[in-house]
């Protein structure tokens, strides 16, 4: 067994060395793997993925490997799409709290979280081996309007190409934590009033006024830009739904941990939910909620809310959710294609299918097996992480 493992490691090492040393010349890559979890066409056993120019050219069971292609032979491995962390705050300055929560201004709609992001920070480098290939970098929950989240690929080695969406939407919060004692709003009623005022003013905004804050909110009010609304408790979710209804927003609920208690209300409005990491709760009744809310027909994507929990534990969330009642297929989707769809990048990410970006994770063991180690991570066809034998 060990010999086999060493051999396959050697093969990967050699192949990837060739790949890495081939310089800027794009080369066709063929990955042969024991199990390919496509997330679009089921699981392919002993299948092949053909990658060219950073995109998936083909995937299937019996596919011809093109001439001159580099072959990565991994018969014992599982391959899945690169995971997507739907909401987190990595790569920001040391005092994370200060960066993600603008405490002076309650409404910070024009702030772009990407401005505080350091693409070369240790955080980002460390995150490369987590199996998470794309993240939604987002503001926190302490502002009624927190700023603009961005969809970002974790391979920041090149100057550009890693920002998929600079302004993915606008972040809102109706959480109790957005209420401060030294600046408004100081009460939920005050918070709701503030939001209504902002959105009303945004409605009446005209381009000539040149107000970036109003401008981006106008796009939200016109449902051209999604509103990502932090709401955890049932009453907070209810407040969020009120705003959504009043303004007809295209919205996503963030960290709706108690969403299962009002799942029918959420499902009725077809709102997806970015689910908080399960390791934040340790009580059985809380761990069961993910299964319950999905069971009521609400679309879920998992998030780490890093650094609240570690980025690596995105998969842990999914596995724990399955342990406490979520079905396996939904769990895998919530790590990949669901997140891509919710973030509006499913044309490029979320599944191993033709035309999509070659963002892949290779695991030794099945994805929903917590003991499976991450052997290799690929973004845009480039290997960004590979496990070293100690």
């Amino acid at each position: 067994m060990k010999k086999r493992r060493f051999l396959s490691f050697l093969v990967i090492l050699c192949s990837s060395f060739c790949l890495l040393s081939s310089g800027g010349e794009p080369q066709t890559l063929a990955i042969r793997a024991g199990k390919i979890w496509t997330l679009s066409d089921g699981v392919i056993t002993n299948g092949v993925i053909i990658i060219d120019n950073g995109k998936i050219q083909a995937v299937g069971e019996n596919i011809d490997v093109p001439e001159g292609a580099k072959v990565l032979d991994m018969p014992d491995m599982n391959v899945m799409p690169g995971m997507i962390d739907a909401y987190c705050h990595i790569g920001l300055s040391v005092n994370v709290q200060r960066e993600i929560d603008e405490t002076v201004a309650a409404v910070a709609a024009d702030m772009q979280i990407l401005d505080a992001f350091n693409p070369h920070s240790d955080d980002v480098k460390k995150a490369l081996r987590s199996g998470v290939t794309t993240i939604m970098l987002a503001p926190g929950y302490r502002n009624p309007v927190g700023g603009q989240p961005a969809v970002v690929k974790l391979d920041t080695s090149k100057a550009d190409g890693w920002v998929l969406k600079r302004t993915a939407g606008v972040d809102f919060s109706v959480m109790n934590q957005a209420l401060m004692f030294d600046r408004e709003p100081t009460s939920r009623a005050g918070l709701m009033e503030m939001l209504r005022e902002e959105l009303d003013q945004a409605k009446a905004y005209k381009a000539e006024e040149f107000n970036p804050r109003r401008e981006v909110l106008k796009r939200v009010v016109d449902a051209n830009l999604p509103a990502y609304i932090w709401a955890h408790n049932v009453d907070e979710i209810a407040s969020a739904l009120t705003i959504v209804d009043t303004y007809g927003l295209n919205a996503v609920l963030v960290a709706a941990g108690q969403g299962d208690e009002v799942a029918d209300m959420i499902a009725k409005r077809n709102l997806p939910v970015i689910y908080p990491p399960l390791l934040l709760s340790s009580r059985d009744k809380d761990l069961r909620r993910a299964g319950k809310i999905a069971g009521s027909g609400v679309k879920l994507a998992f998030s780490s809310l890093a650094p609240k929990t570690d980025l690596y534990d995105l998969r842990t969330s999914a596995i724990l959710a399955v342990k406490y009642g979520l079905d396996k297929e939904t769990a895998l989707k919530s790590l990949t294609i669901n997140a891509a769809e919710i973030l509006g990048v499913s044309d490029r990410l979320g599944s191993i299918s033709q035309g999509k970006d070659a963002d892949l994770v290779v695991l030794k063991g099945e994805p929903l097996q917590l003991t499976s180690s991450i052997e290799l991570v690929m973004i845009n066809g480039n290997i960004v992480y590979q496990r070293q034998e100690e």
């Binding site: 340790s282 609240k308 929990t309 690596y312 917590l370 003991t371």
Partner: protein, 434 residues
């Protein structure tokens, strides 16, 4: 003569049968399935025989008495109960306010509330024992204790063993602020405390000698008085009372290696300082948390200190905290490959997070730790480090029958715990058959 002998033999046999019958209720046999004793190789289709709360026999060919309560474990896994070595179960919130810097005489049992309701959930995940230490704000806090989750409302009846180790901390930040000067001061304070304990031990010994001397002289004096009551004899002077200092008494036990000193240290310098203290004073060292241990694995291996590592993933604690900045989830794998004796803990946000013991072990495996060692790190190795391996930690004859039966391998997070026994008594049984 023969008749009497016959009667005696018959009578004794009869009595034996009777007593066996009476104790028959205390006999349980777990049959079928894969047994993971931890102390040895797995046993397929094995049998575990339990008598009076202890493991009486284990193996493939075990004679199972007639009227024994039988548990069918076919297609299941049978293993010893899991232990969380960094648990907060039962600890009352107020105990985290204990700010006195040096107070090892504090007893963690005083700070526990057995009526806290999180225990059943934890037991339902196969955790049969927890090691609880005073929270890490004191420089030298009290001693930790191991409790069994047998559902009792009485701390005394849950207690397996107290005074496991004295807990100390070097370099833990307060309010996420830490300074090298501050940490140096902490190190010095601990060192000073140990030095003054040495002096105390000398004084105590001196007093003991003086008392022995006095008692001898006193006996002589009594004798003389008896023989010659009228003669003037000098009465020996009783030495002043020696007031035992509770703090120093506990630290004396550490210095005489009766109990280990468990030092929580995160950064490299703090870990090295802890090892330096152990070198200087010769006590048994347990390194707790050991966050940056992977950077000084060689030094730790050389020092022969045991390591209680946790949290395996930072997700278990409130982040961001300064001391976890260089936390690496591969820490366990690296340390264990160096041959360091390792236990894994959850070190979670609250008492209920102790249920994630198996999860913690699985994460360690995913990041390079050997499967068997990881499983041992939450059972036998853990028990050995805590000094309770005579009672728990593996399925061996003579140990307590603290057993977990699972639907699959314990490191497969999706396995379900079917049944949990503590000392042969069922404390959990899964009801819903999905």
């Amino acid at each position: 003569m023969k008749d009497i002998k016959g009667i005696v033999v018959f009578a004794s046999l009869f009595l034996q049968v009777l007593s066996a019958g009476a104790l028959g209720a205390e006999q349980v046999a777990i049959q079928g399935g894969t047994i993971l004793p931890i102390s040895g190789a797995a046993i397929e289709n094995g049998i575990v025989l339990i008598e009076n709360g202890k493991i009486a026999a284990i193996g493939r060919n075990v004679a199972v008495p007639m009227d024994v309560r039988s548990i069918d474990a076919s297609d299941k896994f049978v293993m010893p109960g899991l232990i969380d070595v960094q648990s907060r179960l039962f600890v009352i919130e107020s105990e985290f306010n204990e700010g006195r810097s040096i107070a090892p005489e504090l007893n963690i049992l005083d700070g526990l509330d057995p009526f806290i309701k999180e225990a059943p959930e934890v037991a339902a995940q196969g955790v049969t024992a927890v090691y609880i230490t005073p929270a890490g704000r004191s420089l030298i806090g009290g001693s930790g204790a191991v409790l069994k989750l047998n559902g009792s409302n009485d701390v005394g009846r849950m207690l397996l063993k107290g005074d496991i180790a004295v807990k100390a901390t070097i370099g833990v930040s307060a309010n996420n602020q830490s300074s090298s000067l501050g940490r140096l001061a902490q190190y010095s304070s601990i060192r000073e405390a140990l030095l003054s304990t040495k002096i105390y031990m000398h004084q105590r010994e001196k007093h003991a000698r003086e008392m022995a001397e006095y008692n001898k002289k006193r006996a002589e004096y009594e004798k003389k008085k008896q023989v010659r009551p009228t003669e003037k004899v000098e009465k020996p002077k009783r030495p002043d009372r020696f007031r035992p200092n509770p703090t120093r008494e506990v630290l004396a036990k550490v210095l005489s290696k009766e109990i280990p000193l468990q030092i929580e240290a995160h950064r490299v310098t703090d870990i090295l300082n802890a090892i330096r203290l152990a070198d200087e004073f010769g006590f048994t060292l347990i390194l707790d948390k050991c966050t940056e241990g992977y950077l000084v694995a060689d030094e730790i291996a050389r020092s022969k200190a045991d390591v209680v590592l946790g949290p395996v993933t930072v997700s278990f604690v409130e982040t961001p905290r300064l001391e976890y900045r260089n936390h690496d989830v591969r820490n366990a794998a690296i340390l264990s490959k160096r041959g360091i004796k390792l236990a894994l803990g959850v070190s979670g946000r609250d008492g209920a997070s102790s249920k994630f013991v198996a999860l913690a072990a699985s994460i360690a495996v995913a990041n390079g730790m050997d499967k068997d060692l990881a499983l041992r790190a939450v059972t036998l190795t853990l028990a050995e480090i805590l000094g309770v391996a005579d009672r728990i930690g593996s399925l061996d004859v003579g140990k307590d029958a603290d057993i977990v039966i699972l639907s699959g391998h314990p490191l497969d997070t999706l396995s379900r715990v079917e049944m949990v026994l503590i000392e042969g008594k069922t404390v959990f049984e899964r009801k819903d058959k999905q």
